[in-house]
Subunit: 519 residues, 2 copies
Amino acid sequence: MLVVDAGLMFPDEELPGIDFVIPDYRILTAGGTVHGVVLTHGHEDHIGSLPYLLQTVSVPVYGTPLTLGLARRRVEEAAGSPKMTGIAVEPRRPVQIGPFEVEAVHVSHSIPQACAIVVRTGAGAVVWSGDFKFDQTPVDGQPTDFSRLAEIGEAGVLALLMDSTNVERPGYAPSERVVGVALDEIIAAAKGRVIVTTFASNVHRLQQVFRISAHHGRKVAIAGRSMADTVTIASDLGVLAIPRGGLVPLEQARNLRDHQVTLLTAGSQGEPLSALTRMATGQHRMVTIKSGDTVIFSATPIPGNEGMVARTIDNLYKHGAEVISGSAVHASGHAYQEELKLMLTILHPRFFIPVHGEYRHLVLNRRLAVAVGVPEERTLVVENGQIIGVGPDRIARAGAADTGSVLVDGLEGVGTVVLRDRRQLARDGVLIALVALERQTGELLMEPDIVSRGFVYMRESGELIEESKKRIREAVARSRGRGVTEWGAVRSAIREALGRYLFERTHRQPMILPMLVEV
Amino acid sequence: MLVVDAGLMFPDEELPGIDFVIPDYRILTAGGTVHGVVLTHGHEDHIGSLPYLLQTVSVPVYGTPLTLGLARRRVEEAAGSPKMTGIAVEPRRPVQIGPFEVEAVHVSHSIPQACAIVVRTGAGAVVWSGDFKFDQTPVDGQPTDFSRLAEIGEAGVLALLMDSTNVERPGYAPSERVVGVALDEIIAAAKGRVIVTTFASNVHRLQQVFRISAHHGRKVAIAGRSMADTVTIASDLGVLAIPRGGLVPLEQARNLRDHQVTLLTAGSQGEPLSALTRMATGQHRMVTIKSGDTVIFSATPIPGNEGMVARTIDNLYKHGAEVISGSAVHASGHAYQEELKLMLTILHPRFFIPVHGEYRHLVLNRRLAVAVGVPEERTLVVENGQIIGVGPDRIARAGAADTGSVLVDGLEGVGTVVLRDRRQLARDGVLIALVALERQTGELLMEPDIVSRGFVYMRESGELIEESKKRIREAVARSRGRGVTEWGAVRSAIREALGRYLFERTHRQPMILPMLVEV
């Protein structure tokens, strides 16, 4: 076995309290040898679950130097900090990993040193496109390696697994350099401080901010740990070139005049704890937003984050800042339709499997492949956990693996029962009915006690609480009347009587937990 | 006093369990006479809180017939069904409401019979634009009443309160008729069933679906109560013209061949209980999605709903349907920049107050007004609850009203304490520690009991629970050792010891509720 990428997913509002979602890696211990993990690039959705993978199987990790640097940071800061053996790979230089010959091919993306991966097996070559675009004018002067991809296509590709993110967008993704032009115009015109927020890992974007700021006599200061970490790792590896004196500590930036300052900060997704969100709500220790500030959102909201981003922008406006966002100050790192077609045409694979997108993206990407000439029966849309069998003439589902997602909250996974309870608690809260009964007779030893949270405000609900206690007393009496007192039956009687009464009175359905004490 | 519109807001993920958010109407009883409510049009965000307003003050409701019809349905289905006295108004025919002369002026919007409202007072005329656009080719042949607006502008407008929704969009909003052209192409090409989802209240859109379906030999069936209600009200009032035999019950549509059927359904926002969402998840009683179905999302997601809509689209694809969404099959009902400028130019108000949008929209709309010549000092950006004072030469904040929002859950409002508890419960659940103590000595009478929901799965957490019980015993013993047993102190000791232990072990922070029984 060989693993390509080890990512994580961020939860949506359906998963309350979940920090992130990772694959269930237990399948890797079910038999067979895992020879290694190959990483295409250093984004969270490709490296974020590496600590968990390495806790399950201890195998070497292959990737380009920047990818390995970011992966190592991720592993070290994870709970338990598993050991990571990194093996640096260079594009165009195949390495042998167990029975597989693996070659990285440089592609442009919103992070440097991103790669497509070619895995040569006995049955033929399988290509992962990785996340890519065909940027003809990349900031680092290194476009996608067309020549090598063309050679690989010419030599024959058995199967291609290709990025589907932007399959709904016609044409070509704009070049990263276009964003630089827009940023330059805005920063040139700004009279006060400029605050740029983007994904911490977008080193190309950071590079442009450093270059443009220096050009306009501004020094850059960094707010937020993830952004600072990336700048350190990337500049140590020589991937990010910081102009001499161009980076100052945040404390020092406060002594500069406003037109001499650019702040680089994470929080482009409106994350509640990020530096930018704290600035927007007036809670940042060192930066207070004021009239004259220009805040540039150099990123688009990930689906699901639109609400948080909108709230952050509103708060910035309320503090007097000017806010600039939208497509002019961001370029996607993922190929649009014409680029996807180009990749298909260059590699002309025998079989095609769309990956990396919502289900509708996979369907549309398959359609795109058929449009450029891949026969439909040689394409396959699969979901997580499905096993794909590929032979010289045939592609088909070959069963499903016993796998799934692990919903991580804190140090461990959370199951469906816990999640269902959280959803109910979030909706209508909890009501606890404490009942002390005489062991022999089942008689009430004292007035029932009620505690409620997230249901009604107890101090203002005296009558509701009193009436609830009455219903509890009646329920206990009724269960006693039936002869032998069964604690289970008492519990059900209380739950049922209270549930009915509370719904009638409030149209809410709190979780009702009877707690019985027998003395 | 005169009230213009009585809307509600739908909650975001920050407000768990809340059904909707309405204004706190208690201010209407604080003194002075409320002479009536004038409704601009029949959308939920303009009529949804009318039942609550009428429960607070019993006043007549003014609006066009369709607006009154929809408002009446809303009031009748609300809890307590307050009495509503509706007074129909006709555009260009002013009515006297107490000291105010009120005139409705027809505007085009995504619902028929929408109006701008002119209120003539002793100090001058105040105009609410209502939600509007300048559709030159509206489906019902009734464009915004330019001539009357021009007369009103010529006569002099003291203050204009104008819609800000689309102030970020340059140019003009596309005409509703353009959507008809796109729908016609799609429906003409469809081989199987066509399922169209849109806002139930978008009567123009429904009209187009009926017309186009009839043209292509399809009958329309309706799924979902809100859509059926609108069709009934609108066709009773003659606002919606249903072709003869063009509407069939859903049961009957099942006997037609697929290419003879168009289904109209609510659920364009991915609402969990809507007919379309149930179809997409295979849970609709009468409609099963299948290969060959074409589903048209003739609406854009309201910010915050993107995730739910995306999930619904994915589910439809998984069942084999083709899904069409995006700007070609929807047109906004709100004015774009050039239309907003046009309204400002026609009315050339002395003072300008942007309304109806996020804070950033208000700021940008104010900027737009300044760009077309309103002096900046004659504009004012305000937030909910602020009182605006307008004199012949001056506009200014004149204090703030003691008002706010009511978060409705079930039959009543919910306060901040309850909400804060819900958020904590959603994140990490609850743990209840039941402790029975001997009244005199404070000794434990029995092993502590623990119940937890939404925190860990209790059946798999035996050791954690046992260790927690041990911590409780220790905490109780420690509190006793301090002399007189104070129940409050015992509670705190348990909460603290458990909180620390559970966070260390799980990195989660459940709500901890010690329940003490003394016997």
